[in-house]
Each structure stands twice: as structure tokens, then as C-alpha cells.
């Protein structure tokens, strides 16, 4: 009888060091946070928020003179649509710059990748603060901030899409004597376009979430009335705005998810 012995994998002798290091990190982290500064009124505030959420200020949904929920949400939607479109267009050259199979010369695609990750780490809210200084507060600053910030992520994902294309069509066109532009138009673009659209839609879902908070710093959208209602403690208004945001984002996610499923 041939019995197979199963041995337990040996545990690393250094694991205790890792545990101690982790413990030290956590002690450091928790010791630095003042947990005492919580307001005594928190309980009552939570109660009034709950009351506001369950009895929202329905009148705010539509006001004839403007500055109501629907217009705020429409503004938010418009900011994210335009921001996504701008970034989708701007990202295309960046993606070709960063794709390793388009630029065989490593330093070229490498610098492209570094540029994109630099743009990606730059927070959109900080970008919005800078654009507000340039074009003044309002939705347009938000559009520009989203448009620029999204390039970092979109460019990266587009570049990965380009790197994954099938070489067959471009080789066939090359053999038939096509020039570089024809290669791009007839072999590369048809392959990457559905992917590009799907990625952009995903980004649109992210951007609409960002657009709801851009208003906190004055870059347009529903965030401005929301932060105002929060600061003045109009909980019923906070409730209706939150409800509006959740409903809008859920609907957008459903639509975008359905379209993306059809695309790929």
C-alpha cells in the first residue's frame, strides 16, 4: 500500500516579526487619534438626521424660481457627461503614447505611463480648486477638473486595451501596403473602440459620484446646496438631496451597466 503523506506547509519563522510590526503600526495609529473630541450632541443630531431622511423636504424637488433639486442633479449630470467626454477625447493620444506595442522604444511609453500615473494621483478636488482660480467658481471649473483628472485613469486603461489587440489585422494591412494612418484607422481603432466606450462609461459612473461632491468647494452641481443645508442644519433638505443623489446614481449605474454588457 502506497500511502501518500501530506505535510503541512512550513510557516515562515519570521512571521512573528511581521505580527509585532503590524501591532506596533496599529498602536501608533490608534494612539494618534483623539477619540475624545466627539460632540455630546451627536445622538440628537443623528435623531434629527434620521427624521429628516424619513420626512424629506419634498417641496425642494421643484421650485419654479430655480436652485432646486432637479436642476442641481441635472447640473451634476451635465458636469460628469462633459467631463467624461473631454477626458475620453484627451486620453486617446495619451494612451497611444503610453502603449508599449505602439511605441517600441521603451523610454517613450515609459514616460507616458509615468505622466498618466502622475495625473491620476492628483486629487480632482485640488484640481477643481485650481480651475476655480482660473475660470471662476461654477460648473465649468468642475467639468475641467473631472476632464483632466479622469485622463490619468482612462489613459492607463485605454493603453492596456491597445496593448491587448490582435496583431493579425495590422499585419495584413501592412502586407497590403497600408500606411501608418490607414493601419490605425482600419486595424487598431475598430478593435479598441468598444473597449474604449465601455471604459469611458465605467469612468462616467465614477465621475457622477465625484461631481456630487465638487459643489462642496464651489465647482457646481448638487454639492453646493447640500453643504449649505448641512451647515445650516436643514436636515429635511439634506434628506431629500441625499435621496435624489442615491436615486440618480442607481439609475445611471443600471443604464450604464446594461449598455456596457451590450458593448463587450
Amino acid at each position: 500500500m502506497n500511502q501518500v503523506m501530506i505535510t503541512k506547509p512550513r510557516k515562515s519563522p519570521y512571521r512573528w516579526l511581521v505580527y509585532i510590526a503590524l501591532l506596533a503600526v496599529y498602536i501608533w495609529a490608534f494612539s494618534g487619534i483623539p477619540f475624545t473630541g466627539i460632540k455630546e450632541t451627536a445622538g440628537t443630531v443623528i435623531q434629527s438626521i434620521a427624521r429628516g431622511l424619513f420626512a424629506p423636504d419634498w417641496d425642494y424637488v421643484y421650485l419654479p424660481e430655480g436652485e432646486d433639486l432637479l436642476r442641481g442633479l441635472l447640473d451634476t449630470l451635465a458636469i460628469s457627461v462633459l467631463g467624461t467626454v473631454i477626458s475620453a477625447l484627451v486620453s486617446i493620444p495619451f494612451a497611444f503614447w503610453a502603449a508599449t506595442n505602439i511605441n517600441r522604444f521603451r523610454p517613450v511609453s515609459g514616460t507616458g505611463k509615468v505622466t498618466l500615473s502622475f495625473v491620476r494621483t492628483f486629487p480632482e478636488l485640488v484640481m477643481a480648486l485650481l480651475f476655480i482660480k482660473a475660470v471662476g467658481p461654477g460648473s465649468f471649473a468642475g467639468v475641467l477638473a473631472l476632464g483632466l483628472h479622469s485622463v490619468g485613469m482612462l489613459g492607463k486603461l485605454y493603453a492596456e486595451e491597445i496593448e491587448n489587440i490582435d496583431r493579425g489585422p495590422s499585419e495584413a494591412l501592412l502586407a497590403a501596403g497600408a500606411n501608418r494612418l490607414q493601419l490605425l484607422w482600419f486595424a487598431v481603432l475598430p478593435q479598441v473602440l468598444p473597449g474604449f466606450l465601455s471604459i469611458s462609461l465605467l469612468r462616467f459612473e465614477i465621475n457622477i459620484r465625484s461631481a456630487t461632491i465638487l459643489g462642496f468647494i464651489g465647482a457646481g452641481g448638487i454639492g453646493t446646496p447640500l453643504i449649505f443645508a448641512l451647515n445650516t442644519r436643514h436636515w429635511d433638505r439634506v434628506g431629500i438631496i441625499l435621496l435624489g443623489i442615491v436615486i440618480m446614481i442607481t439609475i445611471i449605474d443600471l443604464i450604464s451597466g446594461a449598455v456596457r454588457k451590450k458593448l463587450v
Binding site: G32, L129, A134, S139
Partner: protein
């Protein structure tokens, strides 16, 4: 003879050739997208003329940012450390909370049907609320400071990790679970010995990934008063001290890139 048959099938193939897809759909899509763009630019008062006239302002701003005033660095180190602390604590608590939530949300492991539908619905609703919005609400409940920021990050972490993990859980191998059931293992035993070993590495990778996202998020939470380095943006921008703002931005970029790099390396080792 055989040649004849071949030719005939060829002819047959030609007639059954698929027609090229209609162009009408593409045109309609293009029109729809253009209408969306047009409507959005009307709604947001987008004017690129404004951008070009505003360009000198922005250039001016960038010029004022350089050279950065490095001496300000000492003031913001504390804020940066607080940012990292917030991200760490938020990720940890969020991960612990996410473990039971994700079990409820996985269709193959949920203890009961209606609990599964309820938790999925709640999770989807929570995931629609951006982290900064959560932070703003928690600030108005608990007051200024890092605690509301940690809470916001915790909720955000629960949403993200639960979603990633339940999708993973639904693809696991049922074999070990069935074996444990047959051997008389209870629910907890089935999870600990049948499920955990299968998802351990991926789960750790999700946690690290969420930590990276949380560091980025924590860096701006201060803008609504929820602690961390974000508090200093308003302080410096308000006094038009752009050279100090530049130090904050550069420092944040450096720390975020460093943590991203470390996280990516660790995740590569895990998987």
C-alpha cells in the same frame, strides 16, 4: 463531381453571407451623444473662450506656486501622518465589518434568501454615496476632527471590500464546502475551513488595494473638516499662499505614489 459540389456550396455561402450591419444605429448613437454633449455644455455654461481668457490667471497661479516654500513642510508632517492613520484605521475596521456583510451578500453562502436580497440592496445603496459626502455628514454629526473621517472611510471600505469579495466568493469551488457538510461541519466550520483558504490571498490583496484608495481619499477629506492633510489646503489657499499649497500637493503626491508602489509590490507577491 466533387469540384462541382464545392462550387455549389460556395455559391450557396455567398447568398447566405451576412449583410453588413446597418449604419442607422451608429448615426443615431452619434446624434444622441452629440445631443448629450450640447445639452451638458449649455447646462454647465462651458465656454472654452473663458478657459483661454482664464489661462493667464492659471499660469500666474502656477508661477506663484514655484518655488515651493519647503519650510512649510514641518507644519504639515503631522497632518500627513494623521491622514495615514485615518486610512489605516478606517480600512481595518471596515475590513472587519465587511467579513460578515460579504457572507450575507454572496448568493452561494448566504444563510437565507431574504437576508441576501436585503443586504445586497443596502450594500448597493451605501455604495452610491461618495466618501467625501459621507465625511461631510459625519462631520455635522460628530464635529470636526479625524473621527468622522475614519467613519466615512470605514463605510466606504465596507462597501468596496464586500462588493469585491462577494463577487469572488460566488466563483469559489464548492467541493471543500460539500466535503465539510458531508463530514458534519457546521456553518462556521464550513466557512473557516472550506471558504477562507480559497480566498485568503485575494482578500488580502483587496484590503491592500482599498488601503491605497483610502490614503488618496483621506488626503482630501480635510476639505470638509474631517481631519488629515486636506485641512491645510483651505488654510493656505485662503491666504493666497500658493507656494505652501504646492508643498502640500507635492508631499501628498510623493506619499500616495510611495504607498501605491509598496501596495502593488506586496499584491504582486500575494497572488
Amino acid at each position: 463531381m466533387s469540384l462541382h459540389i464545392k462550387m455549389e456550396t460556395n455559391v450557396h455561402n455567398q447568398s447566405a453571407r451576412p449583410k453588413p450591419p446597418g449604419r442607422i444605429k451608429h448615426y443615431l448613437t452619434a446624434v444622441l451623444i452629440l445631443a448629450l454633449i450640447w445639452g451638458s455644455s449649455r447646462q454647465t455654461d462651458a465656454s472654452f473662450a473663458e478657459l483661454f481668457t482664464g489661462m493667464p490667471n492659471m499660469m500666474d497661479l502656477l508661477k506663484q506656486m514655484f518655488p515651493p516654500r519647503w519650510s512649510y513642510f514641518d507644519n504639515i508632517v503631522h497632518g500627513m501622518l494623521e491622514t495615514i492613520r485615518m486610512a489605516l484605521i478606517g480600512t481595518t475596521i471596515g475590513t472587519i465589518v465587511a467579513i460578515p456583510v460579504t457572507l450575507l451578500c454572496a448568493s452561494n453562502l448566504a444563510p437565507s434568501r431574504w437576508l441576501y436580497h436585503l443586504s445586497r440592496l443596502l450594500l448597493n445603496l451605501v455604495r452610491t454615496i461618495p466618501d467625501l459626502l459621507l465625511a461631510a455628514i459625519f462631520v455635522s454629526v460628530f464635529g470636526l476632527g479625524p473621527v468622522p473621517g475614519i467613519l466615512a472611510l470605514t463605510v466606504f471600505t465596507v462597501g468596496l471590500i464586500s462588493k469585491l469579495t462577494y463577487e469572488l466568493l460566488e466563483t469559489i469551488d464548492r467541493g471543500p464546502i460539500e466535503a465539510l457538510t458531508a463530514a458534519g461541519g457546521n456553518y462556521i466550520q464550513r466557512i473557516v475551513y472550506g471558504v477562507v483558504p480559497q480566498i485568503q490571498a485575494n482578500f488580502m490583496s483587496f484590503v491592500l488595494y482599498t488601503f491605497e484608495i483610502n490614503v488618496r481619499a483621506a488626503a482630501v477629506l480635510g476639505l470638509v473638516g474631517a481631519g488629515g492633510i486636506g485641512l491645510y489646503y483651505e488654510a493656505t489657499l485662503g491666504f493666497l499662499e500658493y507656494d505652501k499649497t504646492c508643498v502640500i500637493i507635492l508631499f501628498t503626491l510623493a506619499v500616495v505614489l510611495l504607498i501605491d508602489y509598496a501596495g502593488t509590490k506586496l499584491r504582486e507577491k500575494l497572488l
